[in-house]
């Protein structure tokens, strides 16, 4: 079975205080797909994403990555296969320099330093940030921070990318570069976002979440024309469509 496959079966999760956050989530995402997870605030998007690399583990249901069940025994393999980009790049860029930050993952893999350097340089080149290697993270712009955070993830050579609000806080030009970059990847991509125009440009499939459930699963065109569904889930059609009508 492909390394690039990710599947959820009957996933249910309650917060420690008892609130139901995810309720019977099931889906199967195949090799190289780019899938958006959309929904209003508090719909459960981030909670779902945290299950995909085992950051959260629930009592009921399971997540399988490349046919491995996510659990404490498989955590290392799962995290090598699933790269996770967090919403606030400041949370992800914790090392003192860009190079060391991107090298954090490869070093944890136990690679020799020569290979670490190779991976870091390749990853930085992919996101167009080779020139930033020596900088401390606080001297980066928002778009540069995002690019470096992505480099840190792909330096681990994952087969699946999970991205939480990747376009959040970017200026239009940086956002466009990000979309082009994500389009160029051959990884399986799962993107949680409020940026519905990014979904149109990037994704071939959309999961709509509402109150911890998956309300709809389909092609963007079909989802975004279903006004009744969008209203129910605190959403509206992408801005580029609204202008046209």
């Amino acid at each position: 079975m492909s390394r690039h496959l990710i599947e959820a079966r009957g996933l249910t999760y309650r917060y420690p205080d008892g609130t139901l956050a995810l309720s019977d989530i099931s889906f199967r995402i195949g090799h190289g797909e780019a899938v958006a997870v959309i929904g209003g605030n508090g719909a459960g998007k981030s909670t779902l994403l945290l299950h995909l690399n085992g950051s959260l583990q629930s009592g009921a249901g399971e997540v399988r990555v490349a046919d491995l069940p996510v659990g404490n025994a498989t955590l290392t393999q799962i995290r090598n296969a699933v790269g996770m980009l967090f919403q606030d790049p400041d949370d992800q860029l914790f090392m003192g320099s860009v190079f060391d930050d991107v090298a954090f993952g490869p070093r944890n893999l136990g690679l020799p330093e020569s290979e670490v350097a190779g991976r870091v340089n390749d990853a930085l080149a992919t996101v167009g940030a080779r020139h930033l290697a020596g900088r401390p993270p606080y001297r980066l712009s928002g778009g540069e921070k995002r690019a470096v955070a992505i480099a840190g993830v792909i330096a681990m050579a994952p087969s699946i990318l999970v991205l939480d609000e990747p376009s959040d806080g970017l200026d239009p030009a940086a956002r466009r570069r990000l979309i082009n970059l994500l389009r160029s990847f051959s990884h399986t991509r799962i993107v949680a976002t409020h940026d519905l125009d990014l979904v149109l440009d990037l994704c071939s499939r959309v999961l709509v979440m509402n109150r911890g459930r998956i309300e709809a699963d389909g092609k963007p065109q079909a989802i975004f024309t279903d006004t009744e569904l969008l209203a129910r889930c605190q959403l509206e059609p992408p801005l580029s469509w609204q202008r046209r009508s």
Binding site: D91, F94, R107, N108, P136
Partner: protein, 270 residues
């Protein structure tokens, strides 16, 4: 809350000089750390009434600032900001120690004034040496050097995290402070209750951020061990720098150079 923003700018400004390509930034951080410590030890080892013999030691910060392209005005400003404690304790010396010590062209100068001047001089020399260590090395590399010199990794990791997130948290504090001031109707000062709420919220946010950072670290294979090789290469130039510094400091410690120079100059005059 502009004070927070100022402090942040100060924090960054010093570190940014370390990115400049020059002889000093290329040196091994260990050489500079050891030289700085030796320098400070020599400066403070002088007798409390020493002024003249300390003067030649000013050459070290001056050379560091020149080679490292660090503007002297920046160091001077930082010295001024840091000076109140030395001033406050030192100013008692002239008040308490009034015995005449030096006769300057018929004017008696009290021992207290001499020791006060000596305190200020020591302060300027030691503090500028420490500031220039960071400015010519960069905090990141200072920590790597400290680590190689045997400082526990738990502290060097802690220092790097602190430096990294001081900026983020101070930004949050500054925004919270601005939001409060905008609604404070001119009451600029914080009473204890408001203060505790403000800091409590800041603390909660900090704890949540720590949790998210931990998740981000785990997602990239963190297992409790911070790995950063920083294989520092000790080269001949580093050795040369350290030995040269040590020799100069030792020379300045053993010979009162200005007095000797003055003696020669006075002798040369008709």
């Amino acid at each position: 809350m502009s004070r927070i923003d100022d402090t942040l700018r100060e924090l960054r400004s010093l570190d940014s000089f370390a990115a400049l390509p020059n002889t000093l930034t290329r040196l091994d951080p260990r050489a500079k750390i050891l030289a700085t410590f030796f320098y400070i030890a020599v400066v403070v080892s002088f007798d409390r009434y020493t002024i003249l013999a300390l003067l030649p030691l000013a050459v070290y910060p001056v050379i560091l600032a020149a080679l490292g392209d660090v503007p002297p005005s920046l160091i001077a400003r930082k010295l001024l900001i840091a000076s109140p404690f030395a001033l406050m304790i030192g100013i008692f010396n002239p008040l308490l120690d009034r015995a005449p010590l030096v006769d300057l062209f018929g004017m008696d100068i009290a021992a207290g004034w001499v020791s006060f001047a000596s305190i200020l001089l020591r302060f300027a020399l030691t503090v500028s040496a420490a500031l220039l260590l960071v400015a010519t090395t960069g905090f990141h590399r200072v920590c790597a050097g400290l680590n190689q010199l045997g400082v526990p990794r738990i502290l060097t990791t802690q220092l790097l995290f602190l430096f990294r997130y001081a900026e983020v948290l101070a930004g949050e504090a500054s925004r919270m402070g601005t939001a409060r001031e905008l609604r404070a109707c001119g009451r600029r000062r914080l009473n204890l209750g408001v203060y505790a709420g403000l800091l409590g919220h800041l603390l909660l946010r900090a704890l949540e951020r720590a949790q998210r950072i931990h998740l981000a670290m785990l997602a990239r294979g963190f297992d409790g061990e911070m790995r950063g090789p920083h294989q520092l290469a000790w080269r001949r130039t580093d050795m040369f720098f350290l030995v040269l510094c040590a020799a100069c400091f030792a020379l300045a410690r053993s010979i009162d150079l200005p007095r000797a120079l003055g003696h020669i100059l006075l002798g040369a005059l008709p």
